[in-house]
Symmetry: C2
DNA sequence: GTCTATAAGGGGATAGAC
DNA sequence: GTCTATCCCCTTATAGAC
């Protein structure tokens, strides 16, 4: 722990570093990030980084674990909740996930890219695969449409939620002017996605 | 051009290098790729890489341009085709895009990640944004559902096509055993996606 | 055209003063 | 706890022999 424990709004050096690491790692990815970038972003010296976190790799693992929990933490409780019906799950997913992604637009591409580089490592961390396959949502989808693999619908739902954030630079560009437009666009999807999913699930 | 122009199935050194570069860059991304990796993958010396392509950056630009054309080259002719009706466009998109992505599963995450790192640079290369916004597909979507921004549907279609390839390690893992299962799963979507899009577009 | 050897610089990590 | 200076490996790129 740091000696200077700031009581006010300021962060300790330790906290400044990890905050900077979150920012730089999620923006540039592990390989393109230099520890010097993180130190500069934190407004402090490079040596402090190693003093507090030992190595770039260690610091990255901390951030990565956090970010995976952030990305999946919203989904799991909703998807596995036995108490609520299918329609409500979809509505909650759309609402909560879009809010989270709006606040962390770089998150999906970052996590998915890093997992791709190191799939084994992260698959063991969270046995997400089985968790999802045995979830209440999957059961409900299977009941509704026993003729179609429920994973299709899960992918569609997540894809509709996540893909706009991944494809944003292509569809919307990155100009400042477009930022408000993008935000409004994304907000519309909170209502639209549940309706589309309902339509997809209905038998023709 | 190389002096040794192989007439048979063998590739010239120049071609071996760019083939290796395609493979390594798409797999690991620009920052994590070392020119040594490419040279080794090509089965040749590091110096040859610079002899033929001057620098890592130059070689990357070649690959990146190719890969962007590969990723968008399938979409644009279909989306902008004035001759065919909406339903046919969706069917063709699903069919062609899934085939292309099955053959190049790393392509979307690679291109989207690299564009994110350097958005300006690549936006200028192809004025994709305007091309899409003025496309026949967008017009048809607008006619069908004037009450909803057609970009929503475009994103949904592309998301349903692309997202499985991006999220694959999370949903399916990377085990060899799952490879066939994933392939079969993806093939199903050629039929399913057009049906889902139709359902989404119908008025309730 | 292809190789070996090496230059030149970048980047992660640490020693040691304060 | 924090800083400056420095170490040292790794990586890109080139020089020069063949």
């Amino acid at each position: 722990m740091a000696k200077k424990q700031n009581k006010g709004t300021d962060l300790s050096s330790e906290e400044k570093i990890i905050a900077a690491a979150r920012k730089v790692f999620t923006k540039k990815g592990y390989a393109a990030t230099r520890t010097r970038d993180i130190a500069e972003e934190a407004g402090m010296n490079l040596a402090l980084l190693n003093y507090y976190y030992r190595s770039k790799e260690k610091l990255f693992q901390l951030v990565m674990t956090e970010k995976m929990q952030q990305l999946f933490g919203v989904i799991v409780p909703i998807v596995t909740n036995n108490e609520i019906k299918l329609e409500t799950k979809i509505e909650q997913l759309a609402d909560k996930y879009i809010d989270m992604l709006s606040a962390n637009p770089d998150l999906p591409l970052f996590v998915l890219s890093e997992i791709k580089q190191n799939p084994e490592q992260f698959k063991k961390k969270m046995q997400l695969e089985k968790l999802i396959r045995n979830s209440s949502l999957i059961q409900q989808l299977k009941e509704k449409r026993p003729d179609i693999d429920p994973i299709h619908f899960l992918i569609n739902i997540l894809g509709m939620l996540v893909f706009p954030f991944i494809a944003r630079p292509i569809i919307f560009g990155v100009d400042m002017e477009n930022q408000d437009r993008f935000h409004a666009f994304i907000q519309q999807r909170k209502k639209l996605i549940p309706a589309w999913v309902k339509a997809m699930l209905a038998r023709k």
